[in-house]
């Protein structure tokens, strides 16, 4: 039950809005953070909390691509395939996943570690090709960095190649 586990967080979220329903997406995120996906039980509980009907919660939850209604792997690889990334090789990156992990878009590895999704623009066009893994961005991918990211994630659950506060180009322009 979310309410018992995250009482303080829920109260904080609700305090931001004069109308309860506005808390719906933040609460769905909370449920996803808890279980790794948004379960039916969680949606029912959230409906009750916000005085909505379960279908009202479901109709919102199904609209947004970042809310997973099914379980995904521990690391959710989301590779941008929009034109700006495609111009500089995002299809190649998708190919690496196929050869290195043996999964295509929408599939999860047998060990449940990696799920691949191809997604539309993630606002990192200047540092393409790129992907998002769970909460982190990885940009200007090469085969070398890609291998390192996968290895680090398997080993440590995190990778130092993730992008920090974004600025590109990095250095002041020399004129």
């Amino acid at each position: 039950m979310l309410k018992e586990k995250y009482g303080a967080e829920i109260a904080e979220i609700l305090s931001h809005y004069p109308v309860k329903r506005s808390a719906l997406i933040p609460l769905l995120y909370l449920a996803q953070q808890d279980e790794g996906y948004v379960s039916e039980a969680a949606m029912k509980e959230i409906a009750q909390m916000l005085r909505l009907t379960p279908p009202q919660v479901y109709e919102t939850a199904t609209f947004y691509t970042m809310l997973n209604l099914k379980r995904v792997g521990k690391f959710h690889l989301q590779i941008c395939k929009s034109l700006m990334c495609a111009l500089v090789g995002s299809d190649t990156v998708i190919g690496w996943v196929k050869t290195k992990l043996g999964i295509g878009p929408g599939e999860t590895t047998a060990d449940g570690l990696f799920t691949l999704s191809t997604v539309e623009c993630l606002a990192a066009c200047g540092t393409a090709p790129m992907m998002q893994i769970n909460e982190d961005y990885y940009e200007r991918l090469t085969e070398e960095t890609f291998d390192r990211i996968l290895a680090d994630l398997k080993k440590d659950g995190t990778c130092s190649l993730k992008t920090g506060p974004f600025m590109w180009p990095e250095a002041p322009r020399a004129q």
């Binding site: 931001h16 004069p18 109308v19 329903r21 506005s22 808390a23 719906l24 997406i25 933040p26 769905l28 995120y29 916000l50 109709e59 919102t60 609209f63 947004y64 691509t65 970042m66 809310l67 395939k81 929009s82 034109l83 700006m84 495609a86 111009l87 500089v88 997604v119 539309e120 623009c121 993630l122 606002a123 990192a124 066009c125 200047g126 540092t127 393409a128 998002q132 909460e135 982190d136 961005y137 992008t163 920090g164 506060p165 974004f166 600025m167 590109w168 180009p169 002041p172 322009r173 004129q175």
Partner: protein
């Protein structure tokens, strides 16, 4: 030294600048807020912004001060400010940098806007993928609250301005202002029928202003240095100030470049972004995000301001400039963007929902060399039946990749179809030759 004076990117370009409250204050931050809150009547702040000529940086380019002026003057209930940080237009990545590297600049802009329009609550609607950006904003808000710049009783004046971060969840359409409001209300992000406009019936049906990140980030500078200073930059009178252009694609140095409006695409692409990445010449570029029609090398000397780009048959849009070199398959490029629009159509209006699916199928057939000559008419016919027949501007946007590539590179479509026809003939001949 950069050739042009930087305004929005100035602080973050300083070595060692972290974006903390301390750094921002040291760079002169929050002086604009101190200058006006409780001292200058809110209506005068609006007038100042009107005089500066600042226009919305999200895509439509609507004058910001005029937008604020639409709020009902005698309304007593709550009003809201929403900062549109749902940066999702393919080719655009400037807001992300403004948020993550100089969050207080944006925050000061938000607080100034709150003061001008009399809003006690502001929501920053940030795209869900920007987890880091949302965290940075949260801690910047906490810093500003502790220092008395935000929250209840700002700077001891008794004025309230609470700022909240609200994360979206991966829908492009929520960048459209009424879809953003629906989403913020916890619903599916479907654009509303206008009128009524958000100025009178916005968030929770209350008067609301929705402004883009870059628009709001300009406010502290306009207030500090005066509207005359701002309106002299760029190409006045209609396109004032600088803009951050996001250059992507086949250039040497892709990235964010802040230049005064009115410089040419040639300067932006060949000087700022270092020119083409290889010896292949430029074949095409998109001037303002995926929604803007493609332009050709003939348009390189067009000026980067709202009117000039519109006169060239495209739009300045969100400032996302995508460059393509010789050898790029334009039909494929149009298909890639069409697939984006197909994926992101919210499904409210039939012309867009059904039309985008039909367009993608037809385009895929042509690219796979199974097209027919009639398909070209089908494409044009579909596009004409989408544009202007939808609730929001998405319908007009989604047809621009196909319509503009058909206009400038029609022979590429025809060639693919001829190849399909030739393959058919060979196949026919073979089957007839066999007994």
């Amino acid at each position: 030294m950069p050739k042009h004076e930087l305004i929005l990117l100035k602080n973050m370009m300083q070595p060692g600048y972290t974006g903390s409250l301390q750094d921002y204050e040291r760079a002169g931050g929050y002086q604009a807020l101190r200058k006006v809150v409780g001292k200058v009547p809110p209506a005068d702040v609006t007038t100042t912004v009107m005089k500066s000529g600042l226009r919305g940086r999200g895509g439509a380019g609507f004058p910001t001060g005029v937008k604020w002026g639409f709020l009902p003057k005698d309304y007593q209930g709550p009003r809201y400010l929403c900062c549109n940080a749902d940066e999702s237009e393919p080719g655009t990545f400037k807001d992300r940098q403004l948020i993550e590297r100089d969050p207080h600049q944006l925050l000061e802009g938000i607080l100034l806007a709150c003061y001008a329009i009399g809003a006690e609550s502001a929501y920053i609607y940030i795209r869900g993928e920007f987890v880091l950006g949302a965290r940075i904003l949260e801690s910047a808000i906490a810093e500003a609250r502790a220092a008395g710049y935000a929250g209840e009783n700002i700077l001891g004046t008794g004025i309230t301005a609470n700022v909240w971060v609200h994360r979206g969840a991966g829908a492009y359409i929520c960048g459209e202002e009424t879809a953003l409001l629906e989403s913020l209300e916890g619903k599916r992000g479907l654009p509303r029928v206008k009128p009524p406009f958000p100025a009178t019936h916005g968030l929770y049906n209350k008067p609301t202003v929705v402004n883009n990140v870059e628009t709001l980030a300009n406010l502290p500078h306009i207030i500090s240095r005066g509207p005359e200073w701002f309106s002299a930059i760029g190409s006045p009178p209609k396109s004032t100030g600088t803009r951050i252009f996001c250059v992507s694609g086949h250039v040497k140095r892709p990235g964010n470049y802040e230049v005064p409006m009115g410089v040419t695409f040639r300067e932006l692409i060949y000087e700022e972004a270092g020119g083409m990445r290889s010896d292949k010449p430029l074949k095409a570029f998109i001037p303002g995000g995926a929604s803007a029609p493609f332009l050709t090398p003939d348009h390189l000397d067009v000026k980067l301001d709202f009117e000039s780009v519109a006169a060239a048959g495209s739009m300045l849009g969100s400032g996302g400039v995508t460059v393509m070199e010789e050898g790029t398959d334009m039909v494929w490029a149009a298909l890639r963007l069409m697939e984006f629009f197909y994926h992101e159509s919210c499904g409210k209006c039939s012309p867009c929902r059904e039309g985008s699916s039909w367009l993608v199928q037809t385009m895929r057939r042509i690219v796979a060399k199974r097209g027919r000559m009639e398909d070209l008419e089908t494409l044009v016919d579909l596009c004409k039946n989408i544009a202007g027949r939808t609730v929001c501007a998405f319908g007009d946007a989604e047809i621009s990749p196909i319509m503009s590539t058909l206009k400038h590179w029609r022979p590429e479509y025809v060639l693919l179809i001829h190849e399909a026809e030739a393959a058919n003939l060979i196949h026919l001949k073979r089957t007839m030759a066999q007994p």
